[in-house]
């Protein structure tokens, strides 16, 4: 079965001038099948957003290919294929043109892709879309100013839906929202997935949201995927030392289960990544080999993991 979206050995480097390069994404391969929700988690700067931008064609990779429904994405791909992958960004306040009405923004994909034959039809469709994300139709006439973040985030989802996508790439869709509002957006995503059969690529560093929504999880560290597999498996029994560290560092909203564990050390620089396994300076299980050899992603049962000592480390907790 052709995946809806496939990243095939993607590498993205940014030149920084003075001969320096920033290794934002290194050799990442991912595929998304219909109905799946793939969560990409990891620390700040590990390349999650870059993967998202690559996936929706905002940047063209230095190396590797992005395929949408089997068609490789070129710089000038026809709009019809590309519109099947849509994008929702973290900050709803900047994701809408402040000087255009919400209706205009939501209607843009309809106009660009000729999905409506008349402006009346477009208006009706915009109203329909707004209702679909739980907003009253009269919001079409409003401008983003004065509309709350949660509502705006729903507008951006409506805009993405307008293009009739099969995949929506969500880059931290709830990170800037308050707890209560966050919940409404998560509920919306759940509903849409159920009703429209959408697939999501969900970028987040809030692991509880990933756990709540995702069917699959990819854990990134310094531009590489270190562990990838079904969400349940990874959350319940992380293999890679980094995944373990990360899960242990996430506070649980339950005063009965206290015990934050912290590791020392900083995230290394993406300009001068450490030799060998990128995680080795912070890894409690580090060996000499880790300092020299870059571990490859290997299939281990239900998942893939990139750790030289995968079998040796005792199971978690």
């Amino acid at each position: 079965m052709t995946p809806l979206l496939e990243l095939d050995h993607i590498t993205q480097r940014f030149p920084l001038g003075r001969g320096q390069t920033l290794h934002a994404v290194e050799n990442v391969s991912l595929r998304l099948q219909p109905g799946e929700t793939l969560a990409i988690v990891g620390e700040s700067g590990c390349g999650k957003s870059t993967v998202a931008r690559l996936a929706v064609g905002l940047i063209t990779p230095t190396m590797g290919t992005v395929r949408v429904e089997g068609t490789p994405v070129r710089a000038r791909m026809d709009r019809a294929t590309r519109r099947h992958v849509q994008f929702v960004a973290q900050n709803p306040w900047s994701a809408l043109n402040p000087r255009k009405t919400i209706g205009h923004s939501v209607g843009q994909p309809l106009a660009v892709h000729g999905l409506c034959s008349s402006s009346a039809e477009r208006k009706a469709r915009v109203a329909e879309l707004l209702e679909q994300v739980g907003l009253p139709a009269h919001y079409a006439a409003r401008r983003p100013n004065g509309v709350s973040g949660g509502e705006l985030q729903r507008v951006t989802v409506a805009r993405a839906l307008a293009a009739q996508p099969r995949v929506i790439v969500l880059d931290e869709p709830t990170a800037s929202l308050d707890v209560g509002v966050k919940a409404t957006v998560i509920n919306l995503l759940l509903d849409l997935r159920a009703s429209l059969g959408l697939s999501y690529v969900l970028i987040t560093h809030e692991l509880d949201i990933a756990r709540h929504l995702a069917t699959h999880v990819a854990v990134m560290y310094l531009g590489r995927i270190v562990e990838h597999g079904p969400a349940e498996a990874i959350f319940s029994a992380p293999h890679h030392p980094y995944t373990r560290t990360l899960l242990a560092a996430i506070p649980v909203p339950d005063p009965a289960r206290r015990g934050l564990t912290a590791i020392t050390g900083e995230v290394p620089s993406a300009v001068h990544p450490p030799p060998g396994c990128a995680f080795h300076p912070r890894c409690p299980y580090v060996t000499d080999a880790c300092r020299k050899q870059i571990p490859q992603l290997l299939d281990i049962g239900d998942r893939t993991s990139a750790c030289l000592r995968d079998g040796e480390i005792p199971a978690h907790r």
Partner: protein, 296 residues
Amino acid sequence: MSAVAPAPRPLRFRPRDGLTWFGLGCAGLFCLLALLGPLITGDPNATGPDMLAAPSLAHPFGTDQLGRDLLARTAAGTQVSLMVSLAAVTLGLLFALPLGIVAGYHGGRLLDDLIMRVLEIIQALPMFVLAMFVIGLSGTATAHLGPITITMTTKVVLLLGVAFVPYFARVARAATLAETGQDYVSALRVVGVPRVRILFGELLPNVAPAMVVQAFLAMALAIFAEGGLGFLGLGIQLPQATLGNLTGGGTGYLPAGIWWYSVLPGAIMLAGILGFNLLGDALSDSLSGRSTLKEM
């Protein structure tokens, strides 16, 4: 973190301190004199019998060495000044906006670099040097470029317009750069909106307010520059009265105590510059939200 989307700063003019009111008054006086003055005051070139007469009821601004009414000449000069400034600013915007927006959209890339380099070269010569250069060389005469006739007025407009281009383009570029950083531009690209439509349909309205502010400040600059050129004799030529011509024309009479000749037209110029500067400041405050802070 705020829960409600912040309003884009409206470019609304709400004079709230005395200074802004004063600026409005100055600019209003200037524009009124420019628009209505010439209708009321009569022929600015008509000579009369009283030469170098001090201000009086008959001649509120006095007369010049040829017995012409200086109020009429000042009004005519103000009109020229306003028209030239408006035209120059419009011209500058017309060229600078597309350049700045395109450069800003391609921020940091080759096209941006290229555009900004070229503009930098124009800026390497300060405006007056550039003016001297162009007008000093092409002369103050009407020039003919093939079938196109370039009068001195056109020349001044062109010159000021060109001098404004780098200045405007920088602002437009910076504003566009800031806008391009906003997620909505990425969103539009993902949606598949063509680039031209992004640039001029979506970005332009967001860049425009900053440009309006600059346009006001540039009006002030243009009035000054037009006056300065006239003062040096490199501007619009006699017998057309311009504020610069008048101010410069009167210099020879100053030591004889004939103050009104230079001083009054210059004061009108000052009013115009001050007015537009203050209005620009007020608009810029409203845009940056500085005044809202002050309100509290």
